[in-house]
Subunit: 460 residues, 2 copies
């Protein structure tokens, strides 16, 4: 029997070739021209699960992109873990900022560089490979199911009802997710909190067509100027969000809890240098770490209107639009927040233009327990792999479906993610460290053993 | 000898075919991929001038796109008119809003529909055809020169120095320009004022790449939000521009002058319905007509940043930009205004981002006399063609080169434009009424006769 380290080493190039095959399929869920790529990616993954040893492996249709489901039941009386991941990826724009083809993975400086290398194709592949090792070595200590969706980057619009319809199929004791980051490659951490999300779009319409800015400028409200005024008014001088009622439900942490959190390592100079900013920014009265974890936010994700080509064009645009998302914290409700947003925008819109507010996807925030059997098994697994206990942290990101799982399936999730915050998830040149990939597989294997109660170290 | 009306009628289809040949060349000056089209358009036009009877007709190189020069000298002791126009056009975006190919002219409802049909290919062609008639009929009463440039829509960056170098070539008593509009097809008017222009661009840079808005949102200043704040702050609650010193040099009109202007026909309901707006907008204390003529403005012409594709992408953009132009009135200076703008933006930019301000082109405002020999001749020419005296009006648009001509060449301009404000100049579906085209030719012919002192009506 090979140890897990030996198995990874022996099979490294095959693992990567299999992962690269998945990465090469440009499964961008939010862009309709990639519809067929979604199906191709799902089939590819179903086949990988089968090769790894799943009894059943199938592609399920949903009202959106398909879900890949797989399972291996060794004993109905043993615990069952449902692995969740997603095979869809973010768009690649601005594509000119990539140093290589986003869908042709290359390895440079020990990192896999490609869209989806970290988020989430690379991370979910660790789950597939840990599963493969346990089966190949005849060591699988519990039942495993897989549910891999294709709409996570769009806010999982179809998954909740698909889960509702397939509750029995999905029955499990725990949902295991590898789609988050840790503090550093030598500072393992487990994400115990996620922010929620409300993603909106505003469209401001003035005249019915672009006008000559000389002939009309000064007498016709300019939709881009009005949009700027609306956006500017959404933060006050303390960088607090001005939407009435926005903070009403925000969980207030005690001084003790905040002091606890402040013990996590953080260096403001390194933080600023890493992303090349001169100064950080944010809500008065909170630290950088708090601003990205326990406090809600409002950010423009995209803005456009009028002439955006080369040179100059003297036009008064007919329309201007912005995509604006809010990150939410416990106990904010995304639907309520979207409504507050829409109502507020309506109330401040002047009568010189028409303003339309569209709600894109949303998701609830999530906080997971740190005293559960699953958390303790995970903590021990990280310690075995990394030589130190993981730090529990709250992340600023969102995986809206996690709170939905708890509501619909009644199952808690454990977030064993092995990304790094240098992975450039969602950005050009997304990458994933091979070392994270390998250590992730190892840690997941240990987790299954500890979770099933087997504390032997024969595979070390 | 044919009357001018007969001549236009007999030659109508040839006139249009010749004009359409010019329109079919996509001479978009601000987009570098059209560089060769600029040369093609210039050669085409030079050939048209030659066919019409110019003694000399040549394409001159400049530091930018070429200038077409032509002349017909009948007697050095007679007055000389220098016709100015431009063969370059605006970009055609958003091209999907055009009902037909912007560079394949069609005639619908008595209008030529194409980019450049009005601004300025159609209008400058009236000048060429009036010239052709006068020569063909052996009636040319004065010397005529043509100077047709290819960079008007970019702010004529090369023309001032080209004029400086060719002062003798360009010597004339008057510059005649057909590149403006009149109040209505039955309400002729002559533009006696133009606004100046200062065209700027702001680029706000935050982090060096797009970031995940969940992981960083709340702690990193968002360039799009900051840009919105900057733009919003540029107007106060009375819609006055907040840049310190901006209004210092603005010409203040007397109550009498304002009352005079207010006599021009204007219907606010029709104005709003025409461009489909619910309410007009503008600086407190001024009428709609004043806001677009005697008052300066500041408009966003384009804004962009972050993810602007389909669906949603949770990104905190690295950069956000806006093109912003200001229309200026007598006695504002575009360079001084550009400096005030840049200084102000710098002074309000927070230290959480980098802000770059770029000055594109600018131009001085212009006011022309209404008691000159040229104006009186023009007034009489319109009366002959339209049966009523033209109204002198100040336009909100800019032809920056007009004030440059006065400075460099020491020659006043007369703006005999036959556009309508329904022409959609700079917009999709730009069009030019055939009736305006024909009446324009007629009026220009009469103008030359009256200007040269010949008041006979034999060609009526």
């Amino acid at each position: 029997m090979q140890t897990i380290k030996e198995y990874i080493h022996t099979n490294q190039s095959r693992f990567l070739e299999e992962l690269f095959g998945l990465i090469r399929i440009p499964s961008v869920s939010s862009v309709s021209e990639h519809k067929e790529d979604m199906t191709r990616a799902a089939s590819y993954l179903a086949n990988e699960l089968k090769k790894a040893g799943a009894d059943i492996s199938a592609v399920y249709s949903t009202s959106g992109h398909p879900v890949v489901f797989g399972k291996k039941i060794i004993d109905p009386y043993k615990p069952t873990v449902l692995v969740y991941g997603h095979y869809d990826v973010m768009p690649v724009d601005p594509v000119e900022l990539w140093n290589s083809d986003p869908f042709e993975p290359v390895i440079r400086d020990g990192k896999i560089i490609a869209r989806g290398s970290a988020d989430d194709k690379g991370q979910l592949f660790m789950q597939v490979k840990a599963f493969e090792y346990l089966l190949a070595s005849d060591l699988l200590p519990c039942n495993i199911k897989f549910m891999i969706e294709g709409e996570e980057e769009m806010g999982s619009p179809a998954l909740a009802s698909w889960c509702q319809e397939n509750k029995e199929l999905l029955s499990a004791d725990l949902i295991l997710v590898s789609d988050t980051s840790m503090i550093g490659i030598n500072t393992p951490s487990i994400t115990v909190g996620l922010r929620g999300l409300a993603y909106m779009e505003i469209e401001v319409t003035g005249p019915d067509k672009d006008l000559h800015s000389g002939l009309y400028g000064g007498a016709v409200a300019n939709p881009a100027n009005i949009l700027a005024k609306i956006i500017a008014s959404l933060h006050d001088e303390n960088n607090r969000i001005t939407i009435p009622g926005f903070y009403d439900d925000v969980e207030i942490l005690s001084a003790e809890e905040r002091a606890d959190m402040a013990r996590a390592p953080f260096n403001i100079k390194e933080y600023q240098q890493k992303i090349k900013i001169k100064n950080s920014w944010g809500e008065a009265g909170y630290s950088v770490s708090e601003r990205t974890s326990i406090r809600p936010t409002l950010d423009v994700n995209g803005i456009w209107g009028g002439y955006i080509g080369e040179g100059s064009k003297t036009v008064l645009p007919s329309k201007a639009s912005a995509k604006i998302s809010m990150r939410l914290v416990p106990n904010q409700d995304p639907d309520k927040t979207a409504e507050l947003f829409a109502k507020h925008i309506e109330s401040i819109s002047p009568d010189t233009v028409s303003v339309k507010v569209i709600a894109h996807h949303g998701g609830f925030p999530y906080v997971s327990p740190v005293d559960s059997r699953a958390y303790n098994a995970a903590s021990k697994a990280y310690e075995t792999t990394f030589g130190k206990k993981p730090i529990p942290v709250r992340s600023g990101g969102s995986i809206p479906i996690i709170s939905t799982f708890e509501k619909v399936l009644g199952i808690k999730s454990l977030l064993m993610g092995f990304g790094l915050d240098t992975d450039l998830a969602h950005s050009p040149n997304e990458n994933y460290h091979l070392e994270c990939f390998n250590k992730g597989i190892e840690t997941i294997v240990w987790f299954y053993r500890y979770f099933a109660g087997d504390l032997s170290e024969d595979i070390k």
